[in-house]
Symmetry: C2
Subunit: 348 residues, 2 copies
Amino acid sequence: MNLIAHNKLITFNQKILISAGLDDFSSNSVTLGLCEASLRGVDSHGIRLLPHYVESAISGRKNPKPFFQFTKKFPALGALDADNAFGHAAGMKAIEHCIEMADELGMGAVAVSNSSHAGSMASMALKAAREGYIALAFTHADSLLLSHNGKRPYFGTNPVCAAVPRKEQEPFCLDMATSMISWNKLMVYKSKGVELPENIAVDSNGYPTCYPEEATCLLPAGSYKGYGLASMVEVLCGIFTGMNFGRNIPGMYTAPMNRPRCLGQFYMVMKADGCLEQKQFLERMQEMTDQVRREPAQDGEKVMLPGDPEIEESKKRLKKGIPIDDDTLLEFESLSEKFNVPLLLIDS
Amino acid sequence: MNLIAHNKLITFNQKILISAGLDDFSSNSVTLGLCEASLRGVDSHGIRLLPHYVESAISGRKNPKPFFQFTKKFPALGALDADNAFGHAAGMKAIEHCIEMADELGMGAVAVSNSSHAGSMASMALKAAREGYIALAFTHADSLLLSHNGKRPYFGTNPVCAAVPRKEQEPFCLDMATSMISWNKLMVYKSKGVELPENIAVDSNGYPTCYPEEATCLLPAGSYKGYGLASMVEVLCGIFTGMNFGRNIPGMYTAPMNRPRCLGQFYMVMKADGCLEQKQFLERMQEMTDQVRREPAQDGEKVMLPGDPEIEESKKRLKKGIPIDDDTLLEFESLSEKFNVPLLLIDS
């Protein structure tokens, strides 16, 4: 197993992204997003995306030095034109604006236009939650979700994310694709050469498949319910923002790398003390958290809240290091050489 | 089949609720909610609840003449103490406040405390969407959702609802329990004497069951994803509002009928023209709607958006009348006699 320490990983990511032309805000945002996802065990949205991201900066799909334009038609509802920024950078900028609005008005929403793949939405939502706010975060994606009753996908794997502060340091965090798994998670199965669980994906004929290389689209989580949630996310991120929607969204891995994807994102941030005092809210969140973790579990299992597996994994990886799969390691070595940035793995 | 015309049903509901002591706002809100749910084919949350609702007004669980207290610690984030009102009445009042706030600030959220069962959340969200706003609506419920990896339920079937205006008259409307089906839908199976589909519910030993009378709790939609969404809804409706949460919520059908349930609700309403002009937004929503409805479907099926089945059913029921199951008819006849309100069915 190839392992790298979290702090070394951050340095590597940051230097590579700066070398690829990203400005400080963009490289910091992307680095935080990718490295935190990997730390939390969300490998699908972690550092394995770095080579693709570097390519997207160099080839022109993404703007490494965006000029963000923030406008507000209404005090509590803003719009951020992200100038084809990296998705993480656009998202972090949007969350900053949301927090300012929430401080002033109790609540603030920002719709992002002209952005790109935002990685794990938890990166943005957790930023607000760590500062004591409740955050909801959404983005859309190219159509890879089999429509309910349909023969092909229309919506993307459009994730829903919510982060909420509590007494313990790490916030509650739900971050879920509305498909059974995300496409990037399928890519992880593919690169590991592992079969998919049943009822996750279908092939080009619409038949269920367990072979990731045969999969052309994913099944919605909870049948028509995941499909319905994906359509709601498309409204907020695609229709509302004026971006592409449905089958017109350029594919992350299929569109030309010089073509901006013009993706939308949508964030809502609100004060956690809208009804109670902040302290009381945090205590009640902790009480719910503690109660759930004590619930009687099936043999060999634990009852957990969303984000709990990621918190456990973070602790382990902070100690032992973050694994890099062989394919990603090869690409990292090539980036290391190309940009003359040392890649310091943990000696095994 | 016992059928009643929609307008006759409205009159019957309204007169019964007024007779049971409800003030005008409460009886109008509950009538609209129940009759609209039945019109849209959502029988689980429709007029079959009327007898239970009447009982809850008479026995003291709900306040038929509530004194609503609306306060705002922040301009865009309000709190409505519903004084143990009927859930529909509290929800309608909250949506009115949200709309006022959205008009002023672009966005408004209202957390409801001290309310009760709100029926179909679509009633409230559709009100805002019909006036041109985007609405999100949430409520929590007594713990009936089997925890992921757990032996018993902690969260409720906590629904997620979103309604969005478009060019055509009826808005887009997603309204889903985070369980495979709602508990009230299970009650419909029970009263019809019909078996449940597989993987919907479990019995008191935690084993899957298809017999509604053996079911003690429901499986989450999309496994841990529905469970995760339910926990998010609990945060907004239970933790944030200061209400009961988790296993401390009095059961709709199991708690004493003189005990207020003290449920929370949460609403967000925003202007649809935060980025684009209203006309353009409505056109784009319609374009997505039309595209989805034209997507290639599996044999004998149609690809639809959330709310489409309900729109089709509404048209049919508006013409042919709304069905009343035999159990509900008996109860309606008894209410009709008790309160001296004529029940005018369609002659069959």
